[in-house]
């Protein structure tokens, strides 16, 4: 713990990594690495190679999407970034240190699952406060943070509802509020809006971008939708299957805030075509490997 404190001044040291620094469109502070994945392999007990030689650095303030055909290991990669499961080879670092720094002030991590993953027996408010309860945070400050989180996702009036009384989109918003309540710095999202209809999805995409801006989060977002990836991210990481690996990265340099105009712009269409092509290559490579 003291070690973490000692290394903190590194923040002021300008970033000089071997990596090419991409100009991230419209995002001012893209800074030091938040999560870095180095030469990571993940082999499951049954011999499935889920990830092979994956290299990825997520920098502060970035919004990154992991995109790829099913079985490309994007969810596995996200889980490794969350500290769920061990790597078979290589290394994952959080804030340039090991997993033990996660949870400290300024180094908090939250995960949003594919389905809302709420406790059905608990009211919305109780669900949102779960991370605080587990951390034994009580008192007025905790209550305020719950209120704030509920307000940000527009569910202030639904604190006493049970999850089953809410629509799928609202449940997902509860899930996001729960992730927000600890004041995370890094938000990992595993196809959070995959099961929702397009209208709700677009709305939540806009909400998410607003929250990302307001809270200064770093976001890693897994999706299988090209449009969603392009709309949200400053960088789309394209992955291929068998074995799961990164095959391309497409920077999206359109400025934020992005809105309806961006969705219908030729720039957007251009990026979507570029990403779709990369995805096409990824699918072909996966199929060749399978045959």
């Amino acid at each position: 713990m003291t070690n973490a404190k000692a290394t903190r001044p590194e923040v002021v040291v300008p970033m000089t990594t071997e990596e090419e620094t991409r100009p991230a469109g419209g995002t001012p502070a893209v800074g030091r690495p938040v999560v870095s994945v180095r030469d990571v392999d993940k082999v499951y007990g049954n011999g499935t190679v889920a990830l092979k030689d994956v290299d990825l650095t997520v920098k502060e303030g970035e919004f990154i999407s992991l995109l790829g055909p099913s079985g490309c290991g994007k969810s596995t990669l996200l889980r490794l970034m969350a500290g769920l499961g061990e790597v078979s080879a290589g290394k994952v670092n959080w804030w340039e240190q090991d997993y033990s720094v996660v949870g400290e002030k300024g180094r908090k991590l939250a995960f949003v699952f594919q389905n809302a993953t709420l406790m059905p027996w608990a009211r919305v408010r109780k669900n949102v406060r779960l991370p605080l309860d587990l951390n034994r945070d009580k008192g007025d400050e905790a209550e305020q943070r719950i209120d704030q989180a509920l307000e940000m996702v527009g569910l202030s009036k639904f604190g006493d509802a049970y999850p089953r009384e809410l629509s799928g989109g609202m449940q997902m918003r509860v899930s996001i509020a729960r992730a927000m309540v600890t004041g995370p710095n890094l938000l990992l999202m595993d196809e959070p809006f995959g099961a929702l209809d397009e209208m709700t999805r677009n709305k939540l995409n806009d909400d998410l971008l607003r929250l990302w801006k307001d809270n200064g989060w770093t976001v890693v977002f897994v999706t299988h939708s090209v449009y969603e990836a392009v709309y949200l991210s400053n960088r789309v990481v394209v992955m291929a299957a068998r074995p799961g690996r990164v095959i391309d990265e497409v920077p999206i340099e359109a400025p934020y805030p992005r809105g309806q105009e961006f969705r219908v712009s030729t720039e957007f269409a251009g990026y979507c075509r570029r990403v779709s092509e990369a995805l096409e290559v990824a699918s072909q490579q996966g199929e060749e490997a399978a045959s």
């Binding site: 969350a82 500290g83 769920l84 949870g103 991590l109 995960f111 699952f113 594919q114 389905n115 993953t117 406790m119 059905p120 027996w121 608990a122 779960l130 991370p131 309860d133 587990l134 951390n135 049970y162 999850p163 089953r164 600890t182």
Partner: protein
């Protein structure tokens, strides 16, 4: 205009089976009378009703004895069964080592071991209770263990990510997840506790002040007092139904806000 009573779901739920029951009793009485069947072969419902009223003192005392054993056995089963389940989920080793013995207990016919238990345990009430526990405890153990393991894996991941301790996991996640299974186990267990109490009593053949409903049936059988036999049988059935209804009510009370089994879905 339709009758508002028939529109009432609750009323229909009670009234419809009662009406069928009433028709059945009517038919029974008619057959007994039309064929002149003597009461020592098959008494009519009226005859049985008479026995109910006349023998109420003996029957009620028998009911209390049987109910005492049933409730004791059920209570002990719930406590011990839950404790065993909590122990089982602590480690795979404990479960793997002990679970086969829980199954062994379940598959051994109670009639076969009851005589032994009655020899070993001096006090009659406790001897009967032990027999009833042996068969009533299994659904609690197996259901609760299943429930404690049926946790949403992503919720479990989330608990791990927020560094929840074992106790927090148990109290905030495993136990609530297990509740529907636990109540399912309780429903089966009440019925088995009653069956266990009755079967054990048949084997023990306890008379005197300890005589429960099973002994009354045995005794009435020897005396060819068939109406009393039916009355005692009726009381056992009634007890079973009441206990089951109580469990359903209890489980609905606890689960009504969130679990599918207790929700009233409007289409």
């Amino acid at each position: 205009m339709k009758s508002p009573l028939l529109e009432n779901e609750k009323f229909v739920q009670v009234a419809a089976p009662m009406f069928v029951g009433f028709l059945f009793l009517l038919l029974w009485e008619a057959i007994v009378r039309a064929n002149d069947i003597p009461p020592y072969i098959l008494p009519g419902p009226l005859e049985i009703g008479k026995a109910f009223v006349e023998d109420w003192g003996v029957l009620f005392h028998g009911l209390l004895m049987t109910l005492k054993v049933t409730l004791l056995a059920f209570g002990i089963s719930v406590l011990l069964g839950t404790a065993a389940s909590l122990l089982f989920v602590q480690s795979r080793w404990i479960e793997v080592s002990l679970f086969p013995y829980a199954v062994l207990m379940q598959v051994t016919p109670i009639v076969a071991i009851a005589p032994l238990i009655i020899i070993w345990v001096d006090d009659t009430t406790w001897a009967l209770t032990v027999c009833a526990v042996i068969i009533a405890i299994f659904p609690i153990i197996s259901n609760t263990t299943l429930g404690l393991r049926s946790v949403d894996p992503n919720l479990l991941n989330m608990f791990r990510m927020y560094r929840a301790g074992r106790l927090q996991q148990l109290v905030r996640l495993r136990i609530p997840s297990a509740l529907p299974y636990f109540f399912g186990g309780m429903r089966i267990s009440t019925g088995l506790a009653l069956i266990g109490a009755v079967v054990a009593e048949f084997v023990a053949g306890t008379g005197g002040t300890q005589a429960g409903l099973a002994y009354l049936i045995l005794q009435a059988g020897y005396n060819l007092d068939i109406p009393r036999m039916f009355a005692a049988l009726g009381l056992i059935t009634l007890t079973g139904i009441s206990l089951f209804a109580l469990m359903v009510w209890l489980s609905d009370l606890v689960l009504r806000n969130w679990h599918e089994s207790a929700l009233k879905v409007e289409q």
